[in-house]
């Protein structure tokens, strides 16, 4: 689990380095993405996830949203088998991808779930991002897929996917800390 995460991080590492060299980092204190709760429960032999992710968008991001920029928001969920002698083994990865857009004609916010193609509309931004952050009953993995006797943990993080922003904005987003919105990995036990 850690290894995969490290690989992904390494991919961006060089990017951050270059960005840091060009621009001084100044993180917005209040803004950010935070995983508040995450837990699994077994229903019909399938582990399902209930989680609550708190998106706090800062003014730069909201300004872009209101100017027609679609915001890609991602959630990554990993299930790993715990191993005492070496790093944990990632056995499944679930990704949830959303697009948040503002429609100026009806003055509402559209949330597209890329995984199932559904579009939901909200009259307020907060309703929209609360809806994205509220994960209910998400099917993660069959109980059969887990080895008996082994311990499993789940981890979740959520972030604004800069790589899916429009190209012109991407350069700014790499360099500007206002655009680097992402949560830490939140880890919870699936089975002890």
């Amino acid at each position: 689990m850690r290894c995969c995460r490290n690989t992904k991080r390494a991919r961006f590492g060089a990017l951050w380095l270059a960005a840091y060299l060009l621009f001084a980092p100044h993180w917005a204190a209040a803004a950010g993405v935070f995983v508040r709760t995450a837990e699994t429960f077994l229903l019909e032999e399938v582990y399902r996830l209930n989680a609550n992710v708190d998106f706090r968008l800062n003014s730069s991001v909201i300004e872009a949203l209101h100017n027609g920029v679609t915001l890609p928001l991602n959630m990554e969920i990993e299930i790993a088998r715990k191993r005492s002698y070496m790093w944990d083994e990632t056995i499944a990865t679930v990704s949830q991808q959303f697009l948040l857009a503002y429609e100026p004609l009806p003055r509402r916010y559209a949330v597209t779930n890329i995984n199932n193609g559904s579009i939901t509309f909200y009259s307020s931004l907060y309703d929209a991002i609360d809806a994205i952050g509220a994960i209910k009953n998400l099917r993660l993995i069959d109980a059969k897929a887990l080895e008996p006797g082994s311990s499993y943990v789940g981890s979740i993080r959520s972030f604004l996917d800069i790589d899916r922003l429009p190209i012109a904005l991407r350069m700014i987003a790499y360099a500007n800390s206002n655009w680097r919105l992402g949560s830490e990995w939140y880890v919870w036990p699936i089975r002890d």
């Binding site: 961006f12 270059a18 300004e63 027609g68 100026p104 004609l105 909200y122 429009p166 012109a168 790499y174």
Partner: protein, 738 residues
């Protein structure tokens, strides 16, 4: 250090080529990506990183090259100045045009992007959006009013009636779907156009349901899969019973196709334009960044290439300069490493050939010189070991060389007079005068000569056998005159002594035999006729015979001396005390007239190994000579001293108070038959010299400063066979106080 790494890079053009390709590729892709290409867009981050890393690498390489150049300057290495100049020219050539292009590109970019946007278009789009919005709102409001009116009638009717009316109303109003939903969200009645599947999400699952249950109606637009935009209208059914929960009527109406398309287009256009305006800044930044990156890379690459090519151009020149410096310092072994196959390579090849040839020529010259020097040293050694004196002169008589033997024979040092004419040297060193005259006489004549020359040295006469040869001038030599001479004084002396010995022996032999009959005859005459003759005649006979007998005795004495000289018996060596012997001999002369004999005997004179009889004879001869000389000179005293000179030389010195020895007689004083006295055989000192010679000793004579002469005898303590005697004798003689 870093040098070795860089040198490896300098192996050829390929690393530079690969690097260039990578750089050009990544810059191209970055540019493509910045222009929104889908494929490159995904790699934007990585491309950006690669470019940034390339720039960092270039900066690092330039820093290394620059520090190397600085170090070369500090160490004043060859080629540093040329490299700096080349680098400066290359950099200027690259940076100046690039900066112009950059400046104009930037201003075009700024103005070009800004010119895309127009405030008029923006306000028109906003108005279009507003217009669309009001048209849509009006359309939706109409639908809501229709729905509300229809709903008002429904609560009073039964479910069957409602179902029928809904079906009719739907068909009449062109709705896609009309459904009646319980407050719990359960659908009671749903009527939709035939052959359509579920249109949109059930109302109960949306947050609209919550809003409607609060009592307010809802109308809104939403996209429905495959069917485009729909108007969803939701109204609450009026209640008969206030306690019962409200039922909800929902209707989905297709938007008028034209209106829907136009509204959608307006919204899309507005959104796109707004996004464009919003992204104008980032877009410009992105273009500027890409352009700057490309320019920075080009400039950095140009700078590094400047270092690289300057290094490559200067490297062979530096090698050549180092080689030239080495040759200038005399190091011809320095070979330059072969270079690439071009003019510089040929130059270096030629340089190597040249140094090889020069080195070979120098080695040969050195070898010849060494040989010549060896030969010279050899000849000098031979000359210095020669017992003959060798002097070389120029044709004009200037001194060139003189060997050790020449200086020894002449008793002077000739080295300081090298190059001076013999005639000039003669003024300072009179000893060479006869030699100089001989040379002068012969200079005009051709051919070799040979003659005997007598020179005076330290009051002694030396006889030299001198030969002269003319050296013809040949290649490498100027020619000149070679004088070779030998000291033949001793040889002549020895010959003289041998001749005298032979004469003495003959005389003794021839004269001694008739002497005895003469004496006997005279005695016989005297014995027979002395008594018979008259007294006058008898007196005459007596006188005559006595004279004959006496003279024959005297002749016998003389003959005995001759025999003594000619036939000194072989040595009978024995240990003896010189002081005792001296004392004995001196005792015999105690009453020698009025002459006082003063004897001084050193106590440290050891027992010597010598022939006692001969030594006694020696002392007798010396004392007798001294007493006679003192008497002749009117002196009163003869002094005899013994002493030990050095470790093993016994010395006897006899001083007289006679008239001394005339200067011209020094050479002949020890010759036989030399005498200055009226009476005397002239053999006393000759015999003394012979005895001393037999003992391998040395005898010499000199005048005392005030009056009289001194004879000095030196005899080796350990006998005549002791080694290195003559040299030590000479030393002791020279070290003796006057």
């Amino acid at each position: 250090m870093a040098n070795s790494g860089l040198n490896k890079l300098n192996l050829g053009f390929w690393p530079l080529g690969v690097f260039l390709a990578l750089l050009a590729g990544s810059t191209y892709f970055l540019n493509e990506a910045a222009q929104n290409s889908e494929f490159f867009g995904r790699w934007y981050g990585i491309l950006f990183s690669v470019n940034a890393l390339c720039i960092l690498a270039l900066i690092g390489l330039i820093a290394i090259s620059f520090s190397r150049l600085l170090r070369q300057h500090r160490n004043q290495e060859i080629g540093a100045k040329l490299t700096s100049r080349l680098v400066l020219v290359f950099v200027l050539l690259a940076v100046v045009p690039a900066s112009f292009v950059y400046y104009f590109s930037l201003s075009f970019l700024q103005r070009g992007v800004d010119s895309w946007f127009n405030t008029q278009i923006e306000s028109s789009l906003s108005s279009a959006l507003e217009l669309s919005r009001s048209a849509l709102e009006e359309h939706m409001h109409g639908i809501l009013v229709q729905m509300s009116n229809f709903a008002k009638e429904l609560p009073k009717k039964s479910d069957e009636t409602i179902a029928r009316e809904i079906s009719e109303w739907r068909a009449a109003n062109g709705a896609l779907e009309i459904s009646l939903v319980k407050p719990t969200g359960e659908t009671i009645i749903s009527n939709r156009v035939e052959n359509t599947v579920v249109a949109g999400r059930p109302v109960s699952t949306t947050n609209i349901f919550l809003q409607v249950r609060q009592g307010s109606d809802f109308v809104g637009l939403e996209p429905v899969r495959n069917l485009g935009l729909m108007v969803r209208a939701v109204v609450v059914l009026p209640q008969d019973d206030s306690n019962a929960a409200s039922r909800v009527l929902q209707g989905l109406f297709p938007l008028d196709e034209r209106m829907g398309v136009v509204a959608q287009r307006v919204q899309e256009a507005f959104s796109a334009y707004k996004e464009l305006i919003y992204l104008r800044g980032p877009l410009k930044s992105s273009f500027v960044l890409t352009l700057s990156l490309a320019l920075l890379q080009s400039v950095l690459l140009a700078v590094w290439s400047a270092f690289y090519f300057a290094h490559r151009i200067v490297a062979p020149l530096r090698i050549l300069a180092i080689g030239t410096r080495a040759v200038a310092a005399g190091n011809y072994e320095h070979q330059l490493p072969p270079q690439r196959d071009d003019e510089i390579g040929t130059l270096i090849q030629s340089f190597n050939d040249m140094t090889r040839r020069v080195a070979a020529a120098r080695d040969e010259a050195k070898l010849n010189q060494t040989r010549a020097e060896e030969q010279k040293i050899y000849f000098e050694t031979v000359l210095s070991r020669l017992s003959s004196g060798v002097i070389t002169l120029e044709f004009d008589g200037a001194l060139r060389t003189a060997n050790n033997a020449a200086e020894h024979i002449l008793g002077v040092s000739l080295a300081p007079f090298q190059g001076q004419h013999f005639a000039e040297i003669e003024n300072i060193l009179p000893v060479i005068a006869p030699l100089a005259r001989a040379v002068e006489e012969q200079l005009s004549k051709e051919g070799d000569w040979r003659r005997e020359i007598t020179i005076q040295r330290d009051g002694r006469r030396l006889l030299l056998m001198c030969r002269s040869s003319t050296l013809p001038a040949s290649e490498g030599t100027d020619g000149g005159i070679v004088l070779v001479f030998d000291d033949i004084t001793a040889l002549i002396q020895a010959e003289k002594h041998a001749a005298w010995g032979e004469v003495a022996r003959r005389l003794a032999h021839e004269i001694k035999n008739p002497l005895t009959p003469i004496q006997l005859s005279a005695e016989h005459l005297r014995h027979k006729y002395l008594d018979k003759l008259p007294p006058e005649d008898a007196q005459l006979l007596d006188k005559s015979t006595r004279t004959i007998v006496n003279q024959v005795d005297a002749m016998k004495e003389m003959l005995k001396a001759f025999i003594d000289y000619a036939q000194i018996p072989s040595l009978r060596l024995q240990e003896l005390n010189l002081n005792d012997l001296t004392h004995d001999v001196c005792d015999l002369y105690k009453d020698a007239g009025k002459i006082e004999i003063h004897v001084e005997l050193a106590t440290n004179v050891p027992i010597i190994f010598a022939d006692k009889l001969q030594l006694r004879q020696l002392l007798h001869n010396l004392l007798k000579n001294a007493i006679e000389a003192t008497r002749a000179g009117g002196g009163k005293r003869v002094k005899l001293t013994t002493s030990l000179r050095g470790a093993d030389i016994a010395e006897i010195v006899v001083d007289d108070e006679g008239p001394g020895i005339a200067q011209e007689l020094f050479n002949t004083i020890f010759d036989p038959y030399f005498t200055t006295k009226a009476k005397g055989t002239g053999l006393g000192l000759a015999i003394a010299k012979k005895i001393v010679d037999e003992h391998n000793g040395h005898i010499s004579a000199e005048n005392l400063p005030e009056k009289g002469a001194r004879f000095i005898v030196q005899i080796p303590v350990s006998g005549p066979k002791s080694e290195s005697w003559p040299s030590r004798l000479r030393e002791s003689k020279e070290g003796r106080p006057a």
